[in-house]
Amino acid sequence: MTSEKNKVIKAVKQVRGGVSVSHHKNTADCEVVRMPNPEKVILPMQQHIGAPCTPTVAVGDKVGIGQLIGDSDKFVSAPIHASISGTVTAIGNIKLPNGNLTQAVTIESDGENRLWEGLEKPVINSKDDFIKAVRTSGLVGLGGAGFPSFIKLSFKPEQNIDTLVVNAAECEPYITVDYRECLDNSWDILSSIDVLSSYFGFKNVVIAVEDNKPEAFKVLSSVAGAGVGKKSKVSLMTLKSKYPQGAEKMMVQSATGRKVPPGKLPADVGCVVMNVGSVAFLSRYMKTGKPLVTRSLTVDGSAIAKPMNVRTPVGTNIGEIIEFCGGFKEDPCKIILGGPMMGQALVSTNHPTCKQNNAILAFAKDDTVLKPERDCIRCGRCAQVCPMSLMPTLITRYTKAKDVESLKQAGINVCMECGSCAFACPAGKPLVQHMRLAKALVREADKK
């Protein structure tokens, strides 16, 4: 009976565009190693899309693991919890890797690794309890964007949400933490899906995996076959491995054939998309009540001595994590927080990690040389590969002309900065940079 309910499907609709990038999943066989708790963590109050949190602790306070240290009364936000036990030693501004200033709470460890006494298993009797629990857990989208997860679930009945897509595509090169989640915590994933379905009544649940991860597929289907996840109709969807297959809008289209209109969310076409790591975390949270205070990261790249997957408390210094992975074997020339397609290049390793980070990549000089920039030859590759059907070459022209009206018409705000255009460009144009400039122009014009 279960085999009837758990079916294997192909993508309903092939998504447009995209590029083939070398996968470099070097750490696929590395089980996640728990890094010992550091002596100090710095917890930025902005680890999500939305309003920053305000610290709820003061300098000198003793905190335990999982204790609330920052929260906001704005809707779009997610609370932040202490990731080690110890004393709050400072509250002040720090610079995030993207250059924004934000408040941060520094905790110095007491070495006890003591859980906060106030931790409780969430009591859930209704859908609203569940959403509240997700908010309390501090969960944000672990795929990289960091959108507060409880908002995804706070949809209205009239939105007719029928499909949950669990995103295990992990189309960015190098990163393997979602893959490890599938292999090591498949039971968590499927039992979490059961709970989600029972509260939200999803008619379909689709777990999407790229076809370059057959092992993940095998493990998930065997667990599903054993009966876990049988309360919901779970289907396993194989996707052609192509970047950016794992983008939210692409996921929705692959799983249901529906297209999310510009400026809208998956919920507007009846879907909820959640990262596989987020789903697995929920199951653990429901059992223990321990909020999101640790994070798995892939540490890889040609300059890293011992590439591996590590689990670290949120707020651990990036330099310390690299040291834990054997340090650098070559002089690093570029260090990226996230994947090579969408990640942020760091000015220094002296930054704390955030909840939504999923990789630290360090590259030696030879791997950071980009092709020289030449004039556009109008070959149209950028438009061919754009999953959002945009024309990056035209947008670049409009940006140069500061033509805001044309930029809006060209759909600049649909651009998700996946980087496919710049990847494909034979003239080596930094097209994502151009897209960001265009967006900034539009934002500025809208302010006036």
């Binding site: 710095i42 690093p332 397609m341 004039d375 438009a383």
Partner: protein, 334 residues
């Protein structure tokens, strides 16, 4: 500011994502076009003699030199390294008879690069194909030298400019005196014509190479040639051999595979490419059937080049998820 671990690493490179790039480069694309033109170049030497190679060398040198000097005078960066001037030079030569005086060939190269390409801003900015425009300018300016078609097989080392000349198959079809070559000779290129346009076999090999290397999309060549085929089949009252002559003669294959697919002067979207190809096909047929010139490929391409901005405007794809009608959105939600 909270003091964190002191930074001691060296300066890191910071740039906008993505941090990896594909291996395709403009130079590699141009090199691929040059490679794809080589079979036709070799064929032209076999068919028309070593002078075909000499003409090609003259136009290539003229194009590269013009580009170098022009950029220098305009105080712009040197771009001969992108190889596009070589492509233009080769294509221009392919559109000239092998008997052309060298100075006319050299002038053509200069016109293509200076007037058509660099004056409009260089690579990617020209609105018409440089090689075709130069050919048309030469055709209008030096009508007799430009339609002085050598008869093939005079031996590879024939340098004579006063070679025996005759009418091209298309001219014969339009009523000029002359003998039609066999279909096999047409396919192999043993016929009168511009030096690079005659050998269908070599051009098709080049085209397949470009499509296989994903340098060009087959949309333009197929829609162009397909349109000509359909119209000519009707015009020739269903005669397939006449149709084959139409396809293999003139510069149709050269134009459809190598000139109409020029990045700068053809539409970017798939739909646009199809419209462009069909338009080229229709105009070519109109000129061949009704025009006073026997050949219309160059004119058709240049006319469609000019229409590209309009085609582009009509065929720009809508951003992902843009609702076509209100109804569709509602359907998607239910």
């Amino acid at each position: 500011m909270i003091s964190a671990k002191p930074a001691e690493e060296k300066m890191l490179t910071v740039s906008a994502s993505p941090h990896v790039r594909s291996s395709t480069t403009s130079v590699r694309l141009m090199l691929d076009v040059i490679i794809s033109l080589c079979p036709a170049l070799i064929a032209s030497v076999i068919i028309f003699g070593i002078r075909a190679l000499a003409v090609t060398a003259v136009t290539v040198v003229s194009c590269v030199l013009s580009e170098y000097l022009c950029r220098k005078i305009m105080k712009r960066s040197n771009t001969i390294g992108d190889l596009s001037a070589i492509v233009t030079g080769m294509l221009l030569a392919f559109n000239l008879p092998s008997t052309i005086p060298f100075w006319i060939a050299a002038l053509g190269g200069a016109v293509a690069i200076v007037v058509v390409k660099q004056m409009f801003g260089g690579i990617g900015q020209n609105f018409v194909n440089p090689a075709i425009t130069a050919r048309i300018i030469l055709l209008v300016s030096f009508a007799s030298a430009m339609s002085d078609w050598p008869v093939p097989r005079q031996g590879i080392f024939n340098f004579g400019v006063d070679a025996v000349t005759g009418a091209t198959p298309l001219a014969v079809m339009s009523g000029s005196d002359g003998e039609m070559p066999s279909l096999l000779n047409m396919f192999l290129g043993v016929r009168g014509g511009c030096l690079g346009e005659t050998c269908a076999l070599a051009l098709i090999i080049g085209g397949i190479y470009l499509i296989a290397r994903k340098v060009i999309s087959p949309a333009v060549p197929l829609s162009f040639i397909g349109t000509v085929a359909i119209i000519m089949l009707i015009a020739e009252k269903g005669s397939f051999s006449a149709l084959a002559y139409q396809i293999l003669s003139g510069g149709l294959l050269l134009g459809a595979i190598f000139m109409a697919t020029d990045y700068a002067t053809s539409p970017i979207s798939f739909k646009g490419k199809i419209i462009f190809g069909i338009g080229c096909g229709i105009i070519t047929c109109l000129i061949r059937i009704f025009g006073s010139y026997p050949e219309g490929v160059s004119f058709s391409i240049i006319i469609m080049n000019i229409l590209v901005p309009h085609i582009e405007k009509l065929t720009t794809p809508k951003p992902f998820g843009t609702p076509k009608k209100e109804k569709k959105v509602k359907e998607a939600q239910t």
